[in-house]
């Protein structure tokens, strides 16, 4: 039974090997690369990876290379439709520019989240630090 169960995890990712994937991580990072290997925990090996930062309708790319990603940090991975990718309405901007707007947006978001979490906590809701760290 056990070997059968492990088998089911692998079948779901085996079709994606050697394809160009978008991987979203728990800290909000988006990586684009070629899936070369994986295991039953969804640990991944990505080749020719770039990190793409999105803010509004703009994005910027940082070349990163090979990644070994621990499965627990993976939110989702998806195959990129190369035709749809070409039709993208987003515009590419230089890395320095996107990092700057990302920093500004993040500061605003952290400020907003702090207030929200305090309000919700006053209302008896459970908003803990761990959740606050997961800004994906």
């Amino acid at each position: 039974m056990d070997s059968f169960q492990i088998f089911t995890t692998s079948t779901s990712l085996v079709d994606s090997v050697d394809k160009k994937l978008l991987v979203v991580l728990r800290d909000g990072r988006k990586l684009i690369g070629i899936l070369r290997s994986f295991d039953q925990f969804a640990n991944l090996v990505l080749q020719d990876t770039i990190e793409r930062i999105y803010v509004g309708d703009a994005y910027g790319d940082i070349p990163r290379g090979i990644f070994i990603i621990r499965g627990e940090n993976v939110v989702l991975l998806g195959e990129i439709d190369l035709d749809k990718e070409d039709e993208s309405p987003l515009r590419e901007v230089p890395v320095e520019e996107i990092l700057q707007v990302q920093r500004e947006e993040m500061e605003l978001r952290v400020k907003r989240e702090k207030i929200k979490n305090r309000m919700l906590s006053d209302q008896g809701f459970s908003v803990d630090q761990a959740e606050f760290g997961d800004l994906y």
Partner: protein, 98 residues
């Protein structure tokens, strides 16, 4: 194992998976495994404008641990069977302990 078996009966059905970060993705359920990792095909993100990075993605593998809800097609769910299975699943471990 109850929900693993349950989701297997829903393969081929349209579902909406809502993640803990509020991202909601509708698609056809392709596969599920024992961790309740979910694979969807022909996906559409519910609030597309907020998640531009998903625009070019056609199918996806979602790690079970990041799922908050899965909205299911009610007519495909046999609630009587589910309740029976839930009752049985609880009895088994209790009996094994004695």
């Amino acid at each position: 194992m109850l929900f693993y078996s349950f989701f297997k009966t829903l393969v081929g059905q349209p579902v909406t998976v809502e993640l803990k970060n509020d991202l909601a993705i509708t698609g056809v359920l392709v596969s599920v495994d024992q961790f309740l990792n979910i694979k969807l095909d022909n996906i559409k993100v519910v609030d597309e404008e907020r998640y531009p990075h998903m625009l070019a993605v056609k199918n996806c593998f979602i790690r079970g641990s990041v799922v908050r809800y899965v909205q299911l097609p009610a007519p495909s769910v046999d609630t009587a069977l589910l309740q029976d299975a839930a009752r049985r699943e609880r009895q088994q471990p209790a009996a094994a302990r004695r």
